[in-house]
């Protein structure tokens, strides 16, 4: 059976869906693969069946986009993980897709990677304990299953998502024991030059409304400089330090968040050039204004290309699709500019504190292989120049998550110890398949399908 198309899109979030709608309308055969069971990505997860008003207007706005995507002629592959993208010498791409234990090889002339973002690693003592999860995970449970924490719940970290989740819980009557804000106190000074853009953006009004909503209803502890999750088999308390004093709060659930970063694995393994963004503290693909990468006919849109949020992602998806069609993208370009307004202010204000990116020696940084910050620092002192050597010696990044949870931490740790930039230090090498798949699945693939071991 032939599996070929004009455009293969990875990810059915705002960027992927928006691109699919435009390309399909123009007559391209479009395939969209996504790991989720319904369109929307993480931001609009479950939006077509979502009934909770408490999730807010921004969330429910995703409904129209998801409906338009499903109504389009694009072929949607839910619960499908793309484990490799490989350029062919003759042009076009081979795309390996795994769906419920069955691998399929697709051929496409063009590819758009729109795999979105993931939570920035938040390595603190005890962060591997059951009961500790990301704020994003808790929000996913809320959006897809209307499930909320039960028992003492603590939110900790920095950034708009944490405030939004607190507000959503408040509206639903879910008690929050405390919100521990780790945003360093003086950062408003660094953010100040970006204030005009922020004041003119949609973020300003929304942020103000959130803060007003939370004031008085949620106990917010500011200037938190240290955090630890305490427990043996599961979480039972959270220690936090503020004003030099350490306090202990009983806890059943600790929800962590310090911003999100691009999901780089698929694009990196496909050969897309990435660079360190010192402002956003993350590796990002090098793209032109259309989302074109260094690989011909491989485009990237949405948060995968650098965090810009859902509204910007939708515009970037449209721009990439229009660029593929050679069409005018003036309107989405103007809208993108408006959608990105205020981001520089947020990036500066919510820049995650150093001690929560470079933890103490005894803290696990690679959750899969249980490698500590001390293990990485010791290697750096002995002359390890980058994450690839660290991987060989410690297995950091060699577990099933393939470095998604530790690559940034390992890079920043080595960079700090050796006094070199993260750009020089580099990201650990990512290889296909970028998702673990069964050997039998791999063997069942035909054509030059086996990912090269390089």
């Amino acid at each position: 059976m032939s599996h070929s198309c004009d455009l293969f899109i990875v990810g059915a979030g705002p960027a992927g869906m928006s691109a699919a709608i435009i390309a399909a309308r123009a007559g391209l055969s479009v395939v969209v693969a996504d790991e989720g069971g319904a369109p929307g990505g993480q931001i609009y997860r479950g939006v077509q069946g979502g009934t909770l008003a408490a999730l807010g207007a921004d969330y429910h706005e995703g409904r129209a986009l998801a409906d338009a995507f499903i109504a389009s002629s694009a072929r949607y592959l839910p619960r499908s993980a793309v484990f490799m993208i490989e350029s062919q010498h003759t042009g076009g791409f081979d795309i390996g897709v795994s769906c419920q234990g069955q691998a399929t090889l697709w051929q496409s002339a063009r590819v758009l990677i729109a795999t979105g973002a993931l939570e920035r690693p938040f390595p603190i003592p005890g962060w591997t304990l059951p009961g500790v999860m990301t704020a994003g995970a808790a929000q996913t449970l809320l959006k897809s299953s209307a499930i909320v924490p039960h028992g003492p719940t603590i939110l900790a970290g920095s950034g708009p998502l944490l405030l939004l989740l607190a507000a959503q819980y408040r509206r639903l009557g879910v008690p929050i024991a405390a919100l521990l804000d780790t945003t360093p106190g003086g950062q408003w000074r660094a953010a100040l030059p970006h204030l005009p853009g922020f004041l003119a953006s949609a973020y300003f009004g929304k942020g103000l409304a959130l803060l007003r909503e939370l004031a008085g209803s949620v106990k917010i502890m500011r200037g938190v400089t240290a955090l630890a999750a305490i427990g043996n088999e599961t979480l039972n308390a959270v220690d936090y330090t503020a004003d030099g004093q350490t306090h202990r709060l009983p806890a059943a659930t600790l929800l962590l968040h310090q911003g999100v970063v691009p999901q780089v694995n698929l694009a990196m393994a496909a050969g897309v050039e990435h660079r360190w963004n010192a402002r956003r503290l993350a590796f990002e693909p090098v793209l032109d204004a259309d989302g074109r990468s260094n690989i011909a006919d491989l485009f990237i849109a949405g948060d995968t290309g650098g965090i810009g949020g859902a509204a910007a992602a939708a515009r970037q998806g449209q721009i990439a699709a229009l660029a593929m069609l050679g069409a005018n993208a003036e309107e989405p370009r103007a809208a993108l500019k408006a959608a990105l307004r205020g981001r520089a202010f947020l990036d500066a204000l919510y820049r995650p504190a150093l001690q929560f990116r470079l933890p103490a020696d005894d803290v696990i940084v690679c959750r899969c292989e249980e490698v500590t910050a001390g293990d990485i620092r010791a290697l750096a002192h002995r002359g390890t120049t980058g994450p690839n050597q660290a991987k060989v010696f410690t297995r950091a990044g060699m577990g099933p998550c393939q470095g998604r949870g530790c690559a940034l931490t390992v890079c920043e740790l080595i960079a700090a110890e050796r006094g070199q930039s993260p750009q020089t230090t580099g990201h650990m090498r990512v290889r296909n398949p970028v998702k673990p798949i069964a050997l039998g699945e791999m063997a069942s693939l035909t054509r030059s399908a086996a990912p090269q071991s390089d």
Binding site: L118, G136, V148, E233, T234, E369
Partner: protein, 101 residues
């Protein structure tokens, strides 16, 4: 611990660690386990430390459980299905138990 805001929508019978229990249609395995009060999903092969769902979106692989006999399935990405059997808390044999072989 977690609870449902709206109660079970469409009940689905599943079997968790040998017990027949009810979950709600549309739940992921992770969501169903959390509501059932199962805090620990597995133990790590290296140190035996407990783990559960962390990222909730298929990235971290900490929520691995055995589903219908197949080990290391991602609970957060797998939807429940009628009659599904789920086993949590997997531990590998300790090195000391196998070292003498």
């Amino acid at each position: 611990m977690f609870r449902r805001l709206e109660g079970v929508r469409v009940p689905v019978e599943i079997c968790v660690n040998g017990q027949n229990v009810q979950a709600s249609d549309g739940d992921s395995v992770a969501a169903a386990l959390l509501v059932l009060g199962i805090a620990t999903f597995r133990h790590t092969p290296k140190t035996g430390s407990p783990r559960a769902a962390y990222c909730g979106m298929g990235v971290c692989f900490d929520c691995l459980v055995t589903i219908d006999g197949e080990p290391n399935r991602q609970a957060c990405l797998t939807p429940i299905a009628p009659g599904m059997t789920i086993d949590t808390g997997t531990r590998l044999p300790q090195l000391s138990e196998t070292a003498s072989i």
